[in-house]
């Protein structure tokens, strides 16, 4: 059983699972957004978690002080995702029945005094927060390792937990992509959301049915990529940044046969059986074509699809192409991940001469 869990948590299986799960989540959100579903699935999740905690290796990772916030975050994310879906499901049913969303009901539109209503809530939330923080601080010491030593790196050397998604991305991308371009695009993309999303519905209340595209795009990036990669980076990456299942011992000497090959080597040496051309651009021609094809070809394909053409109409050209560019760049990550797992592909375009690897 534990063997099976170890195998299945390998990113190539677990990420596939996450994608399927995300699809089901978007499709059956009304079933998921019920109290019954929440309670039964929480019982299962907590049961599995407690069972997993029996294992000394898993237990050791979870209770490592700096990992505690991630466990808290995970349960918070599960709860709040469900909670917003729950509210959205209620609102969607009301809207279908011709009613206003709950937030727009006459009772809720009524104005109330800030004192005492809001001030009281704030006081309670603040007090609760301090209590939690003090208890947390008493029971868990802030981690401190050996004094800094610039000549010896600990193994594994991990960034702060909220950057572990980025560190995990570094496995699949060169630092200029994973560390600069993609984070930069995440920030730009987030800021651009209100300017791209022109859908006037769903402003100020929970809903899913009225803004499925926006929800799908955002939730996929947030849950299936960002949060998922943090989980992998925190709990399942051990010494040498090798993958370790949740019940596996972090054995320093675990050997993973992993010899990654660039697309140019696949093409010239393995495919055509000749040596690589000395001209850099000729050498990387396949990768350049594939990358351009990914962006141009998929954009053209989107234009032809029904959703694409209706989006083009409602958004206008600039917004539409910006959206496609951002989505395709986000899609680059899962694409690159699968290429690595399936073909040991290292870089599509490898030009170390210019430090340009993609």
């Amino acid at each position: 059983m534990k063997e099976l869990v170890n195998t299945l948590s390998d990113p190539k299986y677990s990420f596939t699972g996450v994608i399927i799960g995300f699809y089901l989540f978007m499709k059956y959100y009304r079933t998921i957004g019920t109290v019954k579903f929440f309670i039964s699935s929480m019982i299962i999740i907590l049961g599995v978690f407690i069972w997993m905690m029996q294992d000394p290796n898993f237990h050791a990772i979870i209770v490592w002080p700096d990992n505690v916030p991630i466990v808290i975050l995970l349960f918070a994310v599960i709860f709040f995702t469900w909670f917003s879906i729950y509210k959205a499901a209620i609102n969607d049913a009301r809207i279908e029945g011709g009613e206003t969303p709950v937030e727009g009901s006459v009772e809720n539109r009524e104005k109330v005094w800030t004192w005492p209503n809001l001030v009281y809530t704030e006081l309670m939330a603040g007090t609760l927060c301090v209590v939690i923080l003090v208890i947390w601080s008493i029971f868990l010491k802030a981690p401190l390792e050996e004094p800094a030593n610039p000549t010896w790196a600990p193994n594994p050397a991990k960034a702060p937990w909220y950057f572990l998604g980025l560190q995990e991305m570094l496995v699949y991308f060169d630092p200029w992509m994973a560390g600069v371009v993609l984070p930069g695009l995440i920030i730009v993309g987030l800021i651009a959301i209100p300017y791209i999303d022109t859908n006037p519905k769903g402003n100020g209340y929970y809903t899913m049915a009225e803004r499925k595209v926006a929800m799908g795009g955002f939730l996929f990036g947030w849950l299936a990529l960002w949060v998922y990669l943090i989980i992998i980076g925190t709990f399942l990456r051990g010494p040498n940044w090798t993958f370790y299942g949740p019940f596996e011992v972090w054995d320093f000497h675990k050997v993973v046969a992993e010899a990654n090959v660039n697309l140019s080597e696949f093409f010239w040496i393995k495919g055509l059986g000749i040596s690589m051309p000395s001209n850099i651009f000729l050498r990387e021609i396949v990768g350049l074509i594939v990358t351009t094809g990914y962006y141009v070809g998929l954009t053209l394909l989107c234009n032809r699809s029904q959703l694409g053409s209706s989006l083009m109409k409602s958004l206008g050209k600039i917004r539409y192409y910006l959206l496609i560019l951002l989505l395709l760049t986000m899609g680059l990550l899962p694409v690159k991940m699968y290429l690595r797992w399936l073909f040991n592909l290292k870089y599509l375009v490898a030009m170390p001469e210019f430090e340009f690897n993609l």
């Binding site: 916030p69 918070a76 709040f80 909670f83 917003s84 959205a88 206003t100 969303p101 937030e103 727009g104 009772e107 539109r109 104005k111 109330v112 800030t114 004192w115 809001l118 001030v119 809530t121 704030e122 939330a125 603040g126 927060c129 003090v134 947390w136 601080s137 868990l140 010491k141 802030a142 981690p143 401190l144 050996e146 004094p147 800094a148 610039p150 600990p154 050397a157 991990k158 960034a159 702060p160 950057f163 560190q167 060169d174 630092p175 200029w176 560390g179 600069v180 371009v181 920030i187 800021i191 209100p194 769903g202 402003n203 100020g204 803004r211 926006a214 947030w222 210019f354 430090e355 340009f356």
Partner: protein, 261 residues
């Protein structure tokens, strides 16, 4: 014989009390308005707001909590500065002393766990704002300010990570700052950097790229510690404070906590 006053009534009638609180207890409409409008801290709030805006089920109170945690981080951070010296010689020992020799040995814990909590609450706040579509007009600009605040929160946490000067600290920062090295054109290890080369003269080298600026040197050393300390304790908090003011102001000006149109 005058009616006997309770102590509370007596205090409320003194000149001192009346000079501080210029209105009676907030138990009628006039005073409830006066208590919000007349207090510099409370006047961040509107005097009245829609019922949906005070419901925990709608707002999750995550934005408020984030601000609250930011304030407590400021307080604990200032207190930590009493005992911490940002030099390679003292930093690590001062951190140990904070746990071993300083009264109330959990000040650093409060600060560190508070920082983690703030990252969590900021994320959940953004998540809530997205889920309720509250970034839609007229709140587009404030969403952008919020994204910048999110990035600054992560940077605050990141710069604070170096200060204990232990192995965890310097290697996390080494990895992080080496990403700056890979910035296209601006970092010496990034694409395009070696195009900017005239003969033997390298224009973008490890002595003048963005990483050098960030670290004040070519590797994570004492200048980096001092720089990160200043960024962490002074520079970024000032910018964050400023942007929080803009953020709150715009929440009010854009029509308060979002609700269906």
């Amino acid at each position: 014989m005058a009616k006997k006053q309770s102590l509370a009534q007596y205090v409320a009638n003194t000149q001192v009390w009346k000079s501080i609180f210029r209105h009676g207890p907030p138990n009628n409409a006039r005073n409830r308005a006066a208590v919000i409008a007349g207090n510099v801290f409370l006047h961040l709030h509107p005097i009245k707001l829609k019922r949906s805006g005070v419901q925990l089920g709608y707002t999750w109170c995550m934005g408020g909590l984030t601000f609250f945690v930011f304030l407590s981080l400021t307080v604990t951070g200032v207190l930590l500065m009493f005992y911490y010296r940002p030099t390679a010689e003292y930093a690590f020992n001062d951190i140990i002393a904070l746990r071993e020799h300083v009264p109330l040995g959990i000040m650093r814990e409060l600060h560190r766990w508070g920082a983690h909590l703030m990252v969590i609450t900021v994320w959940l706040h953004m998540f809530r704002v997205f889920m309720t579509g509250s970034y839609k007009p007229p709140r587009e600009f404030n969403w952008g300010v919020g994204v910048v605040l999110l990035v600054l929160t992560l940077l605050l946490s990141f710069t604070g990570y170096l200060l204990p000067w232990d192995q965890l600290a310097i290697w996390a920062i080494a990895v992080g700052s080496n990403m700056a090295k890979a910035t296209p054109f601006l970092g010496h290890g990034g694409p395009g950097a070696n195009l900017a080369q005239i003969g033997d003269f390298v224009m973008v080298s490890d002595k003048n790229d963005v990483r050098y600026q960030l670290l004040g040197g070519r590797f994570v050393g004492e200048p980096a510690l001092l720089r990160f300390y200043i960024l962490h304790c002074v520079f970024i908090p000032l910018v964050v404070g400023l942007l929080i003011a803009v953020h709150f102001w715009r929440v009010r000006k854009d029509g308060g906590i979002s609700a269906p149109l």
